[in-house]
Symmetry: C2
Subunit: 297 residues, 2 copies
Amino acid sequence: MPTVERKTSPPAPSTEELLAHVESHLAAAIDGAMEAPPRLLEAARHAVLGGGKRLRPLLCIRAALAAGGRVDEALHSATAIELIHAFSLVHDDLPALDNDDLRRGRPTVHRAFGEAMAILCGDFLLGLACATISEGPVEPLRATQELLHATNRMIFGQVFDTLGGTDSSAEADEQLRAIHALKTGALILVSCRLGGIAAAAPPAIVSSLDHYGIALGQMFQAVDDLLDETQTTEHLGKAAGKDRDAGKLTYPRVHGLEGTRTRIEGLRVKALAAISGMGPEADPLRQLAEELATRSR
Amino acid sequence: MPTVERKTSPPAPSTEELLAHVESHLAAAIDGAMEAPPRLLEAARHAVLGGGKRLRPLLCIRAALAAGGRVDEALHSATAIELIHAFSLVHDDLPALDNDDLRRGRPTVHRAFGEAMAILCGDFLLGLACATISEGPVEPLRATQELLHATNRMIFGQVFDTLGGTDSSAEADEQLRAIHALKTGALILVSCRLGGIAAAAPPAIVSSLDHYGIALGQMFQAVDDLLDETQTTEHLGKAAGKDRDAGKLTYPRVHGLEGTRTRIEGLRVKALAAISGMGPEADPLRQLAEELATRSR
């Protein structure tokens, strides 16, 4: 594994600092849309700026820093990934899909602005994400293509999850992992990968980040499924117990609660192992894996 | 106006030849999607390959040829524009938007595959369009950005048209033109523009193509509104009279049938004037303007 040369050695920025950067870039991306109907921008702000963990942009920036890059080199990618995430939530929440009224403790976009606006708002955010990443400073064409690839994989996962169509001869565990590698995993993986690309990291480093991202994505989904079973709607800020009630394949349904906890622990170890060759600048990524393994919302 | 140097001088390809190229590239773009759920690809094929005039890809390729480029240089852009057009139809036809059951004489995607699939299929086609153009041979990053800009303008137009929000102090004619410059105009304009870009044409030629595209886009919409009033559903292959019944701003509503015909004639002349400085290689663009002015479906 090649060692990482830092271009600069400032102290690692705090999560609060990074979140402030992300938030202001998200707002600027929306407000920069010329000619847009004011009501559409309102809906977009509601969808994007209403809180949220910002896991994906944080992962992207932390991955870039771990690979020797700078925050500003990763911000276009980080912003674009969160816009894609927001678009997917707006469309997934629609009545024809998951039919959710609540997101981050507030009404979903179609509840607040109507279905027509929610459909068009999601479309707008998808285009805005691509436009944002295409203006980034490092290999923008490659970055745009990576993001598009991940976005389509995410959509494929949503189709399988909502409408079925996976290989029914496969074991339940295999189907579960296949769906989630697409639905949740693709975007978490590309967050890490785009951080490496923004840092112009060598292929071996990008590959380490990929493997970290794959394990982290699986772990994230397993924890999500666990919380869906064990936490209240009020605590989560979104409807709890829905996936179970909808008869979806979830980790607890396939492996039970204890089996899910065991898998989460295994994936945490796997994520850490993937970046064990990286130096102390990858510590925030290690910290993130710990936090995500034990989060309660 | 700089003269256009042709890189090669083969005889101009026939419309049938070009349509065959476009059709096979559209099919290849969809079928090239790895990991996609088979049912999603079926829905995408239904949306994209079910006939259609292919006006936008034809414009793009004809513009490229008029600017001295080659067919193969314009095919990625041409394909991507048609995928964007198809995505927009799939979402616009949804019950929450225009609620159309019929498109090109066949059931709309949500009627044939359900609403959830239609929403996700539109999302997929939007991403696929961007991925396709990003792999083009000439200035792919710029081309991708131009397409995204036009796509978002198209979405803005759909928001204004469906949900209102235009400047109500403006004259009806001004509002009408503002909506359609976005909703229909943006994609027709960028079709011509991307043809010029694919041909690596000098800015003055791209500007001529822009002005041709703007006039043609307005004319196209005026003819569409006229046909919506004067033709049957059976003849059009989509519901006639809907825009009038929905109380939308249309050319006949604002200018009457005769006033609309007068405007169509004025826009035809304007489109031809925009490319009057271009040579005989622009003749197919001139022919297209004539045909679109007098089309009956």
